[in-house]
Amino acid sequence: MSTATEPVLGFDEALATYDPVMGLEVHVELGTETKMFCGCPTAFGAEPNTQTCPVCLGLPGALPVVNEKAVESAIRIGLALNCSIAPWCRFARKNYFYPDMPKNFQTSQYDEPIAFEGYLDVELDDGSTYRVEIERAHMEEDTGKSLHVGGSTGRIHGATHSLVDYNRAGIPLVEIVTKPMLGAGERAPEVAKAYVATLRDLLKALEVSDVKMEQGSMRCDVNLSLMPKGSAVLGTRTETKNVNSLRSVERAVRYEIGRHAAVLSGGGSITQETRHWHEDTGITTSGRPKSDADDYRYFPEPDLVPVAPAAETVEALRATLPEPPAERRRRLQTTWGYSDLEMRDVMNAGLLELVEETVAAGASPAAARKWWSGEIARRANTEGEDVVTYAERLGVTPAHVVELEGLVTAGRLNDSMARQAWEGVLDGEGTPTAVADARGLELVQDTGALEAAVDAVIAANPDVADKIRDGKVQAVGALIGQVMREMKGQADAGAARTIILERLGQA
């Protein structure tokens, strides 16, 4: 395997000379119960070759029949991407030889996609919007999976034998292809990432796929070319295949921009080819040459009748579309009163649903955000999990947050005690109340003891007390800290502040 690093130009330097042009092709595995053309189940991770039949194995004589649910999903995706839906379209055969493709042709859509000419608005970090034009969304079937055994690289070269698992063969896919994305300039990597993220949220909201990039149910191919600034002629593109995380999409675009720029600046020319992305090293390496002359000998699939969704069917499906994620986000941010930064943090941490559920369960938006994005997020990160999965594994629920906030508002816990109680919950010690009971966390409600402590602290710090008497109220913090220490943390800081200011004539 060649991973020799090629020359790469610095990003800023590259962008000073060239404009990047991107095209993204996203494959989405639909979450239908059965395959695209047969009744086999689609469950992920089953024993190899246990979810197959004559149809998806391409046995001689077997014939495909279109999965109506998959067509519905494809139409809903098309509608959500603001596409036109074809009133009549066909499947085509894409002919090429590959051992994990049972029929040696892939049943796909070629010149007659189910959905075409749409767009998706993508919000960037600075709050601006980039409109990604969608060329088409078409249906096709997935291939099987080859495993090459006995070599050092996992590739067929050097392997002693190969195993093929056809469980994935025939799983319905929708491929979403953008038009060339121009004018993103230095923000191209960010646009690419934001587009895939927005698309992922949208598909998730549509409930058509589990969009798990790490399991391959959503895969992205990145096409990239550069054109000299001021030019209108598209450069030669490369296609980086199967980039499987949001971060990698961004990195792959950035890397290819630098690599193309280095080649072009050195007077070389870009070879049209597919490239492999290496997650570990963050670089791409050459795959197979891909010319426009690749001849798949497409022709209409004669074993299938055309797909002709009635206009009423399309409109009925349009009525099932959920609130677009971007609109939903704006609505929730307004309702919750979050700042842009707070909202972005919640989004980036993947906490939107959890916060929403917690608020619905009775917590304040502030408390919901605070408790889900603090200690638990830190721990989840250390464990290499996302918060939702981590919380699920620990058994921590929105009800716990509601209960914790209740203890604070009832005056039983102060902020630092609440933090201790939350840590106890995360350590598996039970509910917030149970943790508080077990750890003896309880604000001292006895004003006599608090007053005595305040008096002792004022007496011990005459200089500070004088400053406060003179109107430097901000110095009160130092005294509160000492009172808390005196009370071993079991005091209500607010009450302590009130008493100190009373005593010093500033109330």
């Binding site: 004559p54 001689p60 004589g61 049972p102 190969s162 074993d303």
Partner: protein
């Protein structure tokens, strides 16, 4: 009624079985004995499943004895062309590349035969992947015409026609992509029908050209074909091109055998020049018989038929090149490693296997189809052929405005000699000139014997074509003609064929 069970028609056998006069086991055994005696000479079968057929026969006899209500044809044996998937029984499509392959599933029509309780005698010989008009392209050797063993029994279904003509089975299943049921029927003096495209499920029929392939019945009488047609036809959710509509009343039409008041259209382009005089003469006599039966004759013209053969030989290889791509040595069938290569790649194994496993005619068509579909040539070839196809359908539609059925000789000649056209593919292709238009348009067609040509004393066929889903008209016309001709001949035509038992020994 004859006591020779092998010479009884399916309808007669059904009556005997129903009355309890004979058992299915006796019938099946008689046919297997006949096969043992004559198949060495005609080579109709690639696989005979005596044990399986007798087992199914015994089971039907037991159910009948138990008083169960059975299908009319229950216990009547049938032979199946080797292009249909049969669970537990080899399916080779006449090709080395599938030698020894035993499918794990049944084609839908095979399931229907089994459900009707029809014992499956075996799999019949065919041109490799149904490519050819003579059965000489079978990788396992040609079948022979029972009328003259030096001659071809038609193709690609020569096994299914000769198995019926040589009294080894009363019924057989064939498939017709460009005439492979009708042309073999014509040259062996038997009956064969290609139903409306989509009328019989293609599920389990190993595809040659998906948009043209159609399975159908082969028999010795029109009624028998209708009976078998009724068993295998009807909607199948496993085949998306299968028609979801009631099956035309083919059996009733065959029993009625009435053409009075019917308008019979003679297709100008499918008669006269290019047709053997003896074939043409029998055709004209047959038309006269229909007129005598009360039919009215009109002449119709289908000008686009001139291009039918060319269009067919672009569409068929194009689809075949894609359909045959699955035979790649990876999962089933033959696997050949290239010689002199130490560690061959998957591609090299595929290439070596396909080179060794496919015959010349198959390779010829794969190359032709690959070329016709390739980028830059698609519009000129495949695209144009599809346009011609539409013109042919339009011609038919116009012709059926003027006539209820269309008629022509089934094939331009009687059976040619084995080897005669093997080195001249174009001459071979011309033999399907009258049958191909029906496949391009998806309409049904039937061939019935019209007599023996004067020049060579060999059978000629009479073709009837009807609009899509009007299959019943074929049987009405075919049965009416058959009744008049049989009366004129003083018995079935096949009675004049040589008795093969002498030759076989």
């Amino acid at each position: 009624m004859t006591t020779d069970l092998t010479r009884a028609t399916a309808a007669e056998l059904a009556d005997l079985l129903g009355a309890g006069t004979v058992s299915s086991r006796e019938v099946t055994q008689a046919l297997l004995d006949r096969t043992a005696a004559v198949d060495g000479a005609v080579h109709s079968y690639l696989h005979v499943d005596g044990e399986g057929a007798l087992g199914q026969a015994t089971e039907v006899d037991r159910r009948r004895a138990a008083g169960e209500s059975l299908h009319h044809l229950a216990g009547v044996p049938v032979a199946v062309k080797d292009v249909l998937a049969t669970r537990g029984l080899p399916t080779t499509c006449g090709s080395r590349i599938l030698e020894g392959w035993v499918p794990p599933y049944d084609a839908t029509l095979v399931t229907r035969l089994r459900e009707a309780g029809m014992p499956i005698l075996g799999k019949t010989n065919m041109d490799e992947f149904a490519m050819g008009s003579s059965t000489e392209h079978s990788a396992f050797g040609p079948s022979h015409n029972p009328w003259d063993l030096d001659r071809i029994p038609g193709g690609s279904g020569g096994g299914s026609s000769s198995v019926v003509a040589s009294f080894q089975a009363p019924l057989a299943i064939g498939t017709d992509t460009g005439g492979s049921i009708r042309q073999p029927a014509a040259v062996t003096g038997t009956v064969g029908a290609k139903p409306t495209y989509g009328g019989v499920s293609r599920y389990g029929l190993v595809a040659l050209a998906s948009s043209l392939d159609q399975a159908g019945p082969c028999s010795r009488t029109v009624l028998d074909s209708a009976l078998l047609h009724a068993v295998i036809a009807g909607h199948d959710p496993m085949d998306s091109t299968s028609i979801d509509a009631p099956v035309p009343a083919v059996v009733e039409a065959a029993r009625r055998a009435d053409v009075s008041g019917m308008r019979i259209g003679i297709v100008k382009e499918l008669t006269g020049e290019g047709f053997q005089p003896g074939v043409q003469a029998r055709f004209e006599e047959a038309v006269q018989h229909l007129v005598d039966g009360g039919a009215e004759v009109v002449e119709v013209s289908c000008p686009s038929f001139t291009y039918a053969l060319a269009a067919y030989y672009l569409i068929l290889p194009s689809e075949a090149s894609s359909n045959l791509a699955k035979f790649d040595a990876m999962r089933y069938g033959l696997r050949v490693s290239p010689e002199g290569v130490d560690a061959p790649s998957a591609e090299q194994v595929m290439a070596a296997t396909r080179d060794a496993g496919f015959g010349d005619e198959v390779k010829r068509r794969i190359i032709l189809g690959t070329y016709a579909l390739s980028s830059g040539y698609y519009d000129a070839y495949y695209g144009s052929a599809q346009k011609v196809r539409r013109l042919i359908a339009n011609d038919f539609a116009a012709a059926f405005e003027r006539a209820d059925v269309l008629v022509s000789p089934t094939a331009p000649t009687t059976a040619f000699r084995l080897g005669d056209k093997l080195d001249d593919p174009m001459a071979m292709y011309l033999n399907d000139i009258a049958t191909i238009p029906a496949n391009l348009a998806g309409i049904p067609g039937l061939s019935v014997p019209s007599g023996l040509a004067d020049e060579d004393g060999l059978p000629a066929g009479f073709q009837v074509l009807a609009p899509a889903m009007a299959d019943d008209r074929l049987y009405a016309v075919g049965a009416a003609l058959e009744a008049r001709l049989t009366a004129a001949w003083g018995g079935p035509l096949l009675d004049r064929a040589p008795d093969l038992t002498e030759v076989a020994r």
